[in-house]
Structures are given as C-alpha cells and as structure tokens.
Symmetry: C2
DNA sequence: TTGTATGCGTTATCAC
DNA sequence: GTGATAACGCATACAA
C-alpha cells in the first residue's frame, strides 16, 4: 500500500503538492498535476482516509438511528437519506436501535468518539435533555418521529391533519362507529394521530367512545389482537383506523377470522403506505408519507448544520396523501 | 473536547500510561489506574478513535453490501450480522448497491481507502476476478449469493436441495403441471433452484416443459406478470413455484384476478420466508432460510480472516426448512 | 507555484 | 511499572 510520500517521491515533488492535486487545489501547474496523477496511476495509490480524517477531524459519515430496518416503512426513507448524503459527499451508518435506549446510547458513542460527523434520529428513545446534549456535541436532526420541546431540527408530516383526514374519509363513507388501533408510547405522532381521530369524530358530531381504541406495538400480531378486542364489543366498529399498515393488516386477519368481509362489513385504514400495502389483498387504504423526501430533507437539514450555515433548529412539515384502495368501502357504496 | 494529553496532565502521568489504562494493559498499578480513571471522569474524556484508527490502521468496521434493504429478506440477515459484529467489537456499514455494479465499486473504495476492515457481499455484482482481487485487499465473505469459482469464503443454503424438496412436495400433493417463476440472472441460487425444480420433475417422471418457466426480477409486479403468462397457457399449471416470496405473492394476485382460488385451484410456493409471508392471506408456503444464522456465520467467517486465523476460503452450508402454510393444498386433500 | 515543517490523537517501542 | 518519543498518513500555515 503506497502512501502520499511514495507518490511525492515518484513524481519528484513534495507531499504538499500531491495533497494539493488530491484536493483539486487550483494553484498547481497543469504539468505538475499531470506528473503527480501519473505517479498516482503508476503506484495505484489510494489515499488513506484515516489520515485525512484525523487531520481534518471529520469523517464524512452520518449516523442514522432507526428502530429496525425490518420495518419496511424505513426502506424508502433510508434511500432518500442515502442519496442525499452521497450527493453531499457523505456516507451513512445505519444502526438498528430496536427501540432500546441503551442501544441508542451505544451508537451515540460513535459520535462522541468522532467516528461520525452528525446524526439523524428516526425515532429517538432519548429524552429532550439528552437530545439537547447530543445536539451540542454534533449536528443532529430528527426525522418523522421527534421529541417535542427539544432544540433539535425535525422534519415530519402533519400527523394530526393526516389522521383527521383519514377518519373524515371513513365518516363520509357512512361509518360512525370507528375503531382506532394506536400504540401506548409517547411519540408525538401517536398523540397527534389520536387527536386527529378524535377531532374528526367531534366535528362530525360523533361522541368519542374510549372502548373503541385498542393498543398495539406497530407489529402484525399486536394489530391482530387489538382488532379481536374491538370485534368482541357488543357494538362492533364499522371501520378501523390503525396507525401503522402492519397493524392494519393484522386487523384484517382478525376481521376475516370473525367471518366478516373487507371492506363491505368493515373498512380498514392504515398509515405509512409501506410497499406491502399495495401488495396485500385487498390493497390497503392508507395515509402515504413522502418517505423519500422525508429522508432527503433530514439530510439537508443536517448539511446546513454541518456547513455551519445554520445553528438554529428548523422544523419542516411535508405534505402527506390519503390513498384510497380496496380495504375501505367507496363513498356512496355504503349500505346505509 | 479533551485529549489524551489533557488526561495525562490531569492525572500527572504520561500519555503512555493513559493509553495503557484505556487499553486495559495489565502492567499498570491499581493506584495509577485509579487516578487516570478519575482524570478521565473529571474531564469527561472520550478517546478520539480517528487517532487510534490511524495508528493501528484498522477501523473495526465491516462493510456490508446488499442489493437493497427494501427487500425484507435481508432484515433478519442484517440482524444476525449486526449482533455477531458487535460481539466481536465491530460495527457495520450497510450499503445498498441497487444491484448496480458501479455502486458496488464505489462502496469498495471505502475498503481501499481503509475506512473498513472487511466486507460481506450479500449478492455480489462483481465477477470472479474482481472478487478475488478484493479479497487480496481485505478479508472478504459472500453470504447467501456467491460467485462460483471465486477464492472467497461463502455461506449459504443448499439451493438445489431446497428447490427440489419444495417441488417434490407439490408433486406429492398431486400436482404434475408445475410452473416455475425464476429470474434471468446468473446467480448460483437461481441456477441451483432451477436445477432442483427440474430434478424433482425428472425423478417423478414428469417431463420438463420450458413453457412452464417464466421470468421476473424478484419484484411483486414481475411475479404478477410472470404468473399471467403461465395462466394464459392452454394447459395452465396446477401449482407455481417462485424463487422469491414477493414474486409468489404477485403471482397470487394474478391467479385471483383470473378467478381462480388459492390453494384449491392452484398451489403457490415461495422462497425465503420473509416476515410478510406469514402476514399474507393465505399465509405463504415457502422455503425458510436460516437468515439470522446466515448473517452470523458470515461474520464469523470474516472474523477468522480478520484475526489472521485462516486465510483459506471456507464454504459453509446451513440447513433450510420447508414451511407449509395456506397457499398450497395439503397432501391427500387434492381432488385427483 | 512549490516546498518545509508541524500537528491532528493515538499507540508502540524503547529506555529507565 | 512508567515515561519519552517516534511513528501512523495526511493537510495546511508559512516560507521561499
């Protein structure tokens, strides 16, 4: 493995000149540049980035913390992050936290140990204070999920409006008893979606029934169990709004097991628009998040901090889209 | 940000001693160690790994190249890799190549530039010669997919036996016209699965009909289209064996659109056993790969090279499992 | 325009 | 058992 020294010797110039060529400095004569490039070619030289990183105290690496890549919601998001990062000369380190705070902290060590220049949280387990502390060490951005009150940039959709829209659609379809499958966490998205659900009911003059809300953990089985519970009510729901597609699909399994049909007996609405939503039979109606753009925007927010352009936290809201497919009855097609 | 120098000054020892404490050297007095640890605590010191990496010319980082994390097949696999890597003191860099050779090469630059100590290929686009060249630079392992003839370790299942088993099962269920949805690539797994399919037919005395093989690209739509083609044959298949679960699910969509039912009219068998296979309705019969173990084993193979324990390439075959669920008719339940 | 010299933070090789 | 000090490979301030 040859070093910059070897190249300098071969090209009969100083290491400084080689370094200049490597970094496209304008103040090096074309002839000199040529002979350096020739030496690089001859020696098949590859700069050792460890040296550069140490010298510059930067790694051109972004830490990306997410619960698990097993959740297909993150696939497109990561793609958006990856593309934007590459465009800016950065690479990413994808880390599964399993929604475990201590795992998250272990990965943040990499930041403290200078192995990454910045971090994007997809669903921070850290509390507001820790998040603020992290942002003091390195540029930090929250994407999709975020902690309210933290002085840390974030990008997300308007979860309240999205949930309200989704439930309003179900109401317009003629459903008035609408079940909600939520999660027992304190994520802003969860709370906002729940609020959107209640607001839609309220505006339609439908009284909120706490029995119609069941809880899961975003997983398939939890959606199945939550729906079983809702279906066991004396007055079962005519529609179910779940805060994740996977839970919605679990709910459909439960509904079918009870001998009911989708969507004629019960409509089901999901959230996220993961790729499976379209593959499922029936294709799932859902709230589509602009996943690629969310990821891309998160990186842009981070870049602005990395470039020291902006130290102030920014909050960006991206548009969502209600996607109606086969798991909800169409307006006007309801029996009532 | 304090450095090792600051700690040395604070603890009134040399940087060498601090370094020894940091690296758990046995030859440092308990008292000295204590005072160093105290200084570290006071200064809230974090070692800068860039310095260590440069000095040791290692990064404790493993490059993991896969087509895309959007393919859920890789979720558990990555988990296995991650856990094993962490256990060995390594972190991983997950890289989506989009099955694009040039993207793969870009990521391999990270290896040449010493930003990673080794690489695991999940589905190498590189040819045998390039793969051999890479293994000369750094420890290299192929996981699941591999190039035959490359002097590079690999771990996978016996794709021939697995496919043969799957097709034999369909035959035992009474199906004799069995369609195959494959891919037009040169992956060993593809070829072996095709061979297993043919071998099962042959042993059952069923003549191979080239018309019964259609091609896709592992994606949902491609499975859908391939099945459409198979269904348009004069003598349509009684069962379909796809080499990916996602294509199998696409095939089911096509079958249902043609007014046929799963599994009574047509049985469908997938491959991989992704999480969605169990969530789908009907739950998909498929060949289950030991995903977590495949990932774990790949790291172990790599570690042996990193430790210089073993330079010779090793080939490991892990057991698969045929999982029968609702998308195939049960033995004895066939109409014939 | 190019070269010299220094330092980034750490570990390792020597002395002592 | 501990301390000086020389690398590791590169970028950059300054000198020429």
């Amino acid at each position: 493995m040859s070093t910059i020294q070897d190249v300098a010797k071969e090209a009969k110039v100083s290491v400084a000149t080689v370094s200049r060529v490597l970094n496209n400095s304008p103040l090096v004569l074309p002839d000199t540049r040529q002979s350096v490039l020739e030496a690089i070619r001859i020696l098949n030289y590859q700069p050792n980035l460890l040296g550069r990183n140490l010298r510059r105290t930067e790694t051109k690496m972004i830490l990306v913390l997410l619960p698990t890549i097993a959740n297909p919601f993150y696939s497109r998001l990561v793609k958006g992050i990856e593309d934007a990062a590459h465009a800016g000369g950065y690479n990413i380190m994808l880390c599964n936290t399993d929604s475990d705070k201590s795992r998250e902290e272990v990965y943040l060590e990499l930041l403290k140990k200078r192995l990454a220049d910045g971090v994007i949280f997809m669903a921070p387990e850290l509390d507001v204070a820790d998040l603020d502390r992290t942002s003091l060490i390195s540029p930090t951005v929250q994407c999709c999920e975020y902690r309210e009150g933290a002085k840390v940039s974030h990008v997300s959709i308007d979860n309240f409006a999205a949930a309200k829209d989704a439930v309003e659609y179900l109401i317009k379809c003629g459903c008035s008893r609408i079940g909600h499958i939520s999660c027992k966490n304190r994520f802003v998205s969860t709370i906002q979606r729940k609020n959107g659900y209640r607001k839609a009911l309220e505006e339609a003059g439908i009284s909120f029934d706490p029995e119609l809300t069941a809880y899961g953990d975003y997983g398939f089985n939890s959606g199945y169990k939550a729906a079983k519970k809702l279906l066991s009510l004396n007055n079962r729901p005519e529609a179910i709004f779940a805060i994740s597609d996977i839970m919605a699909i679990g709910a459909i399994k439960a509904i079918r097991e009870n001998g009911l049909r989708i969507p004629s007996d019960i409509s089901v609405m999901g959230f996220d628009d993961i790729s499976f939503a379209l593959m499922y039979d029936p294709p799932l109606s859902t709230v589509s998040q602009p996943k690629y753009e969310l990821g891309k925007t998160a990186v842009e927010l981070l870049m602005r901090q990395l470039d020291k352009q902006n130290k102030e936290p920014e909050d960006i809201i991206l548009p969502y889209k209600l996607v109606i497919r086969g798991s909800t009855i169409k307006k006007g097609e309801n029996i009532q």
